[in-house]
């Protein structure tokens, strides 16, 4: 029994080494500490960290700001569309044409990730593919801290004629 126990410990150590190597080789490294918001976001959309979201931003992903319009106006991810979660049903017809076929990243404030998660849940309920729908679990604060593109103003609020202007293309 003692030998079996030693072998089990050896397997456990090998597994730890394998886990480190496997994670190092992943395109998106899994963090060894997760933000508390991760555990509150359970919509089924894929969680994403700021660094990876920044890469998708550069690739042309659509960002949806689930906060209220006044919060959005105070500062948002540059190019993000404002879709207040309470109004998603009214905005969905317009929104669907924007997000169709794109990678979509939903965000809110980090301490209210539930807003982003609720919007993600709503989009999933309307058939948005899970593999291309993400929740930015660190929220906009980490985005700003990382020095990624941010903007102010209300020029990308859905329901205000957005989409008719060519300059608004994502």
């Amino acid at each position: 029994m003692r030998r079996a126990l030693l072998e089990t410990i050896a397997l456990a150590v090998l597994a730890a080494a394998a886990a480190v190597a496997w994670n190092a080789g992943r395109a998106e490294r899994f963090p060894t500490t997760l933000p508390a918001a991760f555990f509150r976001a359970d919509s089924g959309a894929r969680p994403i960290l700021t660094a990876q979201a920044g890469k998708l931003y550069a690739e042309g992903a659509i960002f949806l700001d689930a906060r209220a319009p006044d919060e959005y106006a105070e500062g948002q991810i540059e190019g993000a569309l404002n879709v207040p979660v309470e109004e998603w049903r009214e905005l969905y017809p317009e929104l669907s044409s924007w997000i169709s076929g794109s990678k979509v990243i939903v965000y809110a404030d980090p301490d209210r990730v539930e807003r982003a998660d609720d919007l993600a849940r709503a989009l999933l309920s309307r058939g948005a593919p899970r593999e291309s729908l993400f929740v930015l679990i660190e929220g906009i604060d980490a985005w700003r801290r990382a020095g990624l593109p941010s903007a102010e103003g209300e020029d990308r609020v859905l329901g205000s004629g957005l989409g008719s202007d060519e300059e608004m293309e994502p």
């Binding site: 072998e7 456990a12 090998l14 496997w22 997760l34 508390a36």
Partner: protein, 151 residues
């Protein structure tokens, strides 16, 4: 005694297949596995990411150890221990009325923490114990020279 050896081989292959099948999707998506662990509300969130990274390779390596015979008894002990822990987790979730995805075979399998999964874990625990006992009996019958009692 052929039937006995055949049954032991079937148990061995079954356990290996079960644990490799369980490990692969968790390796591919640690995010989903971390959420499954969290959903049980047993462990502190601080250790969830490490566990989500470590447990799938441990499952896979234990299964490979049993399959190849290298660290055979260690692999069996690991599988038995994991099966006991998983059974306890599922039973605990059921007792608390948690209707959660157990994450046993990855998120896509949508396996719930319910009676069938409790029974599956208990069955794999029983298989592990049977194989460990058979291995111990075999060692007693055919001791290696290093273990032979001195005359």
């Amino acid at each position: 005694m052929r039937w006995r050896a055949a049954i032991l081989w079937l148990l061995r292959l079954g356990l290996c297949a079960l644990y490799i099948f369980a490990a692969a999707p968790k390796l591919a998506d640690p995010w989903a596995f971390a959420r499954s662990i969290h959903n049980f509300k047993i462990l502190p969130d601080g250790i969830v990411p490490e566990l989500a990274l470590w447990l799938p390779p441990f499952e896979g390596l234990a299964a490979l150890a049993v399959l190849t015979g290298l660290f055979y008894r260690g692999g069996l002990l690991a599988i038995s221990g994991m099966s006991a822990a998983f059974a306890a987790g599922v039973a605990s979730a059921m007792a608390r009325g948690l209707d959660i995805d157990c994450g046993c075979f990855g998120e896509a399998a949508h396996s719930r923490a319910n009676l069938p999964h409790l029974l599956l874990n208990l069955a794999s625990l029983a298989a592990g114990i049977v194989l460990l006992a058979a291995s111990a009996r075999s060692v007693r019958r055919h001791p290696t020279p290093a273990r032979s009692p001195r005359r």
